[in-house]
């Protein structure tokens, strides 16, 4: 406790860290105990899963699968964020556009991910582009809806200020408009990341011969629960690293100037 408190003090920015670590350790210990008590092949204890993850990472196909899946996640995420933000911004800014396309967005939003993936595989074939497109299309409407909410809440007074001082289009976007949308875009990115990597796995199970999803399907057929959990855990860890390394710094950027 003392050591971790000191560590938090040195970091200075994250006093919640010891609590988070303790909570995580408690979860792993609980998992270990319950699994050992149950003593069944279909629910392996944490220690065995972590050991398996390590051996797959050092001498198995895990790193390659991870890179392949991450690449798909990154591509789908980028497309969904850029297009979704553009659509949301346009719909939040122009009422007529909003009226016109609101129902389209609702249709897309309520179309099950699975149906969309299957249809796109059928229409465009089992290709790399198809999987990225299918996953991006699943995330696009939620991004658009969150950003639209942001665009609706833009401070008219600040926009008018920018207009009266005749600030150019690009600086106006970058310094007046987008900072008001950052909190919404980060919310969209955070929920998007969680959603997209899950959908990528489903899409991989359905139609790709590589990636974490494909590997999980193989282990499912072998009834190898330890393998399934090892691959899932590896991916959860990577996503958590992205949260710490990319999303939280963005949070701090968006919080500039707030009391």
């Amino acid at each position: 406790m003392i050591a971790s408190d000191r560590a938090a003090g040195v970091r200075g920015t994250n006093p919640a860290l010891p609590v988070r670590l303790t909570s995580l350790a408690a979860f792993l210990i609980l998992w270990e105990i319950v699994a050992r008590l149950a003593d069944t092949r279909v629910f392996p204890p944490a220690s065995r899963v972590i050991a398996r993850m390590w051996s797959e990472a050092v001498s198995g196909p895990l790193p390659l699968d991870l890179v392949i899946t991450l690449g798909r996640v990154a591509a789908a995420f980028a497309i969904a964020m850029v297009l979704g933000t553009a659509v949301g911004l346009a719909m939040g800014s122009w009422r007529k556009l909003d009226l016109l396309f609101d129902s389209w967005l609702t249709v897309l939003l309520n179309l099950p991910a699975l149906v969309l993936i299957v249809l796109i595989y059928i229409w465009f074939g089992l290709t790399e582009a198809a999987i990225v497109f299918a996953v991006a299309l699943n995330k696009l409407p939620t991004t658009a809806i969150i950003v639209r909410e942001g665009a609706r809440s833009v401070d008219r007074g600040l926009v008018e200020m920018a207009e009266s001082f005749r600030i150019g289009t690009w600086p106006r976007m970058r310094h007046v408009l987008l900072p008001q949308l950052y909190p919404y875009m980060i919310a969209a990115a955070r929920s998007g990341l969680a959603l997209i990597w899950k959908i990528v796995l489903v899409a991989e199970i359905l139609g790709r011969g590589s990636g974490i999803g494909f590997r999980i399907q193989v282990y499912f057929q072998l009834f190898d629960v330890t393998g399934i959990l090892a691959y899932s855990l590896a991916f959860i860890l990577v996503v958590q690293l992205i949260e710490w390394g990319a999303l939280q710094p963005l949070d701090r950027l968006a919080a500039r100037g707030r009391p």
């Binding site: 600040l158 200020m161 001082f165 900072p179 500039r256 100037g257 707030r258």
Partner: protein, 242 residues
């Protein structure tokens, strides 16, 4: 003459599909380096008038003509300070400066309003009075040909308002420009302006156009208070027989 305003009619749509006339038959002009105050009760259309003049709302009947034939560089001080909360005081002023301005322009503008020490503060860390002074610094920093001010000192306590008026005059004295000051406070108008235009209510027209006597101009305090008292007395006499 730098500005001549001739607004025949400005209307706003009403919720029931009709329209409400806000400004009608409103004419006045502004000379270079002249400060004109526009006084009227709240809601009479003063802010709308400033928007039309600043080119923020092109939908009206009439003409707004500029001395040099085009909309000049306008520095606006809004009713709320309208600073960007994610930029520091210095960055807020820098954002509005034209690209060819010298690097020291921001510093000078902040110095003129006595806020050099707050240059790296975020707007949320400032008092309302200070934020208003930043807004004044920003409007003057672009070396405007005309300054439009919409109730720049509203909701400040009396002494802060008096102090802010001093800051405004200091900024103006460094670089005198034409200025329009919208206010509901006659004393404020009398302490800053060369001329006071009074607006009538619904639709707004110019009810009176009174020059402030030269010897009382920009003196503030006592002088302004006396002049306003005299104005009110005269208005009372005019109103009495009717």
């Amino acid at each position: 003459m730098i500005l001549s305003v001739d607004i025949e009619k400005k209307t706003f749509p009403t919720p029931d599909g009709g329209e409400r006339i806000v400004l009608e038959g409103l004419r006045f002009s502004l000379a270079e380096r002249e400060i004109v105050a526009i006084v009227g009760p709240s809601g009479c259309g003063k802010t709308t008038l400033l928007k039309l003049i600043g080119g923020l709302d092109p939908h009206f009947q009439g003409r707004i003509a500029w001395g040099n034939g085009r909309l000049p560089r306008v520095g606006t001080v809004f009713q709320e300070p309208r600073l960007l909360p994610w930029r520091t005081v210095r960055q807020n002023v820098e954002l509005v400066l034209p690209a060819d301005f010298p690097a020291g322009a921001t510093e000078q503008a902040l110095e003129a309003v006595g806020l050099s020490n707050q240059r790296d503060a975020y707007p949320a860390q400032l008092s309302l009075g200070m934020a208003r002074r930043v807004a004044i610094a920003r409007a003057f920093a672009i070396e405007p040909e005309i300054v439009l001010m919409d109730e720049p000192f509203v909701s400040l306590d009396a002494s802060t308002a008096e102090q802010s008026r001093g800051v405004l005059l200091a900024a103006w004295n460094r670089r005198p420009t034409a200025a329009l000051l919208v206010t509901h406070d006659l004393v404020e108008a009398a302490s800053l302006a060369d001329r006071i235009l009074t607006l009538s209510v619904g639709p707004a027209r110019i009810a009176s156009d009174v020059p402030v006597p030269t010897e009382l101009r920009r003196k503030g305090g006592e002088a302004a208070a006396h002049f306003v008292a005299a104005l009110r007395e005269a208005a009372g006499k005019r109103a009495a027989p009717a």
